[in-house]
Symmetry: C2
Subunit: 339 residues, 2 copies
Amino acid sequence: MKEIKRPTIIDVARAAKVGASTVSRHVRGGKSVSPAVAKRIGIAIAQLGYEPNTLARSLRVGRSQTLGVLFPHVNNVFFGNAIRTIQFEARRSGFTVMLLTHQEDAQLQQEQLASLKRSQVDGLILVPAAETNIAQVRAILGNTPVVAFDRPLGNALDSVMLDNEMAGLRATEHLLWHKHRHIISVTAPYKLNPLHSRLKGHKEAMEAAGRKVETIIWADSEQLKRELCLALKRKRGPATAVLSMSYSVTIAILSALRDRNIRLDQIAFIGIDDLEFASFLDPSLTTVAQPAEQFAKIAVEQLLKRTTGAKESPVQVTLPGTLILRASCGCDPALSKGR
Amino acid sequence: MKEIKRPTIIDVARAAKVGASTVSRHVRGGKSVSPAVAKRIGIAIAQLGYEPNTLARSLRVGRSQTLGVLFPHVNNVFFGNAIRTIQFEARRSGFTVMLLTHQEDAQLQQEQLASLKRSQVDGLILVPAAETNIAQVRAILGNTPVVAFDRPLGNALDSVMLDNEMAGLRATEHLLWHKHRHIISVTAPYKLNPLHSRLKGHKEAMEAAGRKVETIIWADSEQLKRELCLALKRKRGPATAVLSMSYSVTIAILSALRDRNIRLDQIAFIGIDDLEFASFLDPSLTTVAQPAEQFAKIAVEQLLKRTTGAKESPVQVTLPGTLILRASCGCDPALSKGR
DNA sequence: CTGTTAGCGCGTTCAC
DNA sequence: GTGAACGCGCTAACAG
C-alpha cells in the first residue's frame, strides 16, 4: 500500500482506458457517458481510491464552492446553532463552509476577511464587529457577495436579523404588565446596532407607559455591581425589574448579582437572547430567543442566490423573537417546566 | 471601478515591468529582490488591489496551508475555547482552519472526512465520533496527518486528551473526603473511551474506600429521572452525592432534578467538564475543567510537525484536569466567589 | 538579482 | 459518445 502520491484524473483515465475528459464528465454525473465506459471508470476510481482535487477544480471553474462564515466567536447557543444550520444548508447545496472568528476585534476582522478573500470563497456570511462599515468590508472583499447576519451593515447588503426594536418593546411590555414601575435596562458599551434598537424599543414601551427610562451601560464588573445595587436598593422607588439587552450582558448581570448576594428571586428579570442554561437557574430565566436556524437558512439561501449572480436589490429580512416565559419575569414557575 | 475580474500575478508583473516570478518572490517576502524593483511591485499591487490566489498556489506547491478541524459540534465551552485557540495558533503559523462538525454521527463524520480530503487539508484535528476506528479514518484520509483530540483513536496516532481516569478518581475522592458514603455516578450510553476511563477512575476510588459502585447509564430523560429519584430517595442508604461523567450528562441531570423538584442543595454534586454557567447555579457547581487552550496548542504544534514530515513515533499527550471547587460538592460557598 | 518556461489537476472547447 | 489540446494562477527550475 505504497501511496506515494494521490491518483489524478489521468491515472483513472489510463486505468479505464479512456480519455481524461470522459472521466471528468462521469465524476460530475449527469453528462452522457455510455454505460459500459461508466462501469469501467467506476471500477478504476474505486481501485485507485481516486478523489477529485477540489483545488484544481476550483481553479479551473473559478468558483470554490466554499462559503465563508465570519462570526465573533462560537461560544453561545445562538451562534452555535446558527453555525450548525449554516453548515447543514450549505452542504445540501454542495458547498463547504470555512468558519473563522474575529473575537469582536475590528483589526482581526479585516485580516480574516483578507484570508477569506484569498481563499476565493464564493460568498460570505458575516456578523460584523462593532463600528464596521460596509466600505471597509468591500475594500477587502471586492464584489464577493456578503450577507450580514444578526447585525446590520448598511442597506446595500442582504441581511437577516432579529426585529430588535420589537424584542425590546415586547420584553418591556411584559415587565410592565407584571406591574413593575421601575425597570432598569442594562446594555453593553459596544456600538452595536442591535443593542441600540433593543434599547429603543424598550424606551418606546416605557414612555408609552409614562415610566422613566433608566439605563446602565455596563463598562466593567465593579461599576455594574455598584450601579445595579444602587438602583435596586435605593429607598425612593427602587427598581424591581431588570432587562438585559444581550447574552453577554446577562452573564455580567448574573455575575454581579451573585457577587452581591442578591438572589434572582428578589427581582424580576428578562434577558434578550436565550441562554442554554436559562431553565436551570432558580428562578428560571425568561428570555427572548432568536430563531437561529431560520436566520441561517435564509442567509444561506440568499447568499447562494447571489453567488449565481442574482442582481435584485438587497433584501433585509427581519424576524421576530420569541418571548420564552419562564419564572424570572414573575410568571408562574410551573410554566418553566416546558423546558 | 469596473472590477470585472481579479488581477493576477501577471497583471502585476506587467504593471511593474518585471517578470512574474519576481513578483512571486516579492509577495512571499524574504527572497532577494532589489529595493527599486520591490518598490515598483509594491505600487503595482496596491494600485491593482492584487491578492494572491491561494487556490492556485496550493495547487502548485501541493500543500493547502489549511488545517481541517472536525468536531462533534461547537456548543460547549470546552470545544468553543479549543476552536478559538486552534484557529489562533494555526494563524500564527500561516495556516487557515476549515472547521466542520459531525454531530456525533459516524455517517456524517465519514462524509466530512471525505470533504476535508478533497479540500486537500494538510492535516486534521479530529474529535472522533463514538465507535470510530482508525481504519475507517485512514481509508478516507490516506496518509494525511491526523491528531486525535479529546478522545483516543488507537495508539498509531498522535493524540491529546484529559487524564480521564485521574479525573474520575480525583472527583470521587473529593466526594469521599466530604464523607459521602453513597455516591451515584451517571454516564452516557455512548461508547466513548473518555467516559469509560472516567468511570474506571471512579470505581477505583470507590473500591479503595470500600464503597459500592452504583452507576446510572442515562438512556432517556424519563429513565434518568426515575433511577435518579430512586437512588436519592430510597430508605436504606440513599445516595447523597452525584458524579456526572460529562457535559451533556450534567445537563441531563440538571434537567431531571429540576423536573422532579429536587434542589441542588439537597445533594452533593461534581461534574466532569466545566460549564460556562457553573458559577451561576445555586449552589454553584464544582467541576473538573479541561485545559482546552493547552490541548489546542499541543494539537496544532504536533500536527504542524507532522505536516512537515516528522516521522517520530506517535505521541499521546495526557493532561490533568483541574478540580474547580465551588459550592455543590459541599465546600464552603464562599469559595465560589472566585469565579 | 531577474526573466522564461513548464507544469500542478482539472474542465472545457472542438474536432473526430 | 469520446479524446486531444489548452489554460485557470501560481511557483520551481533553470538560464541569463
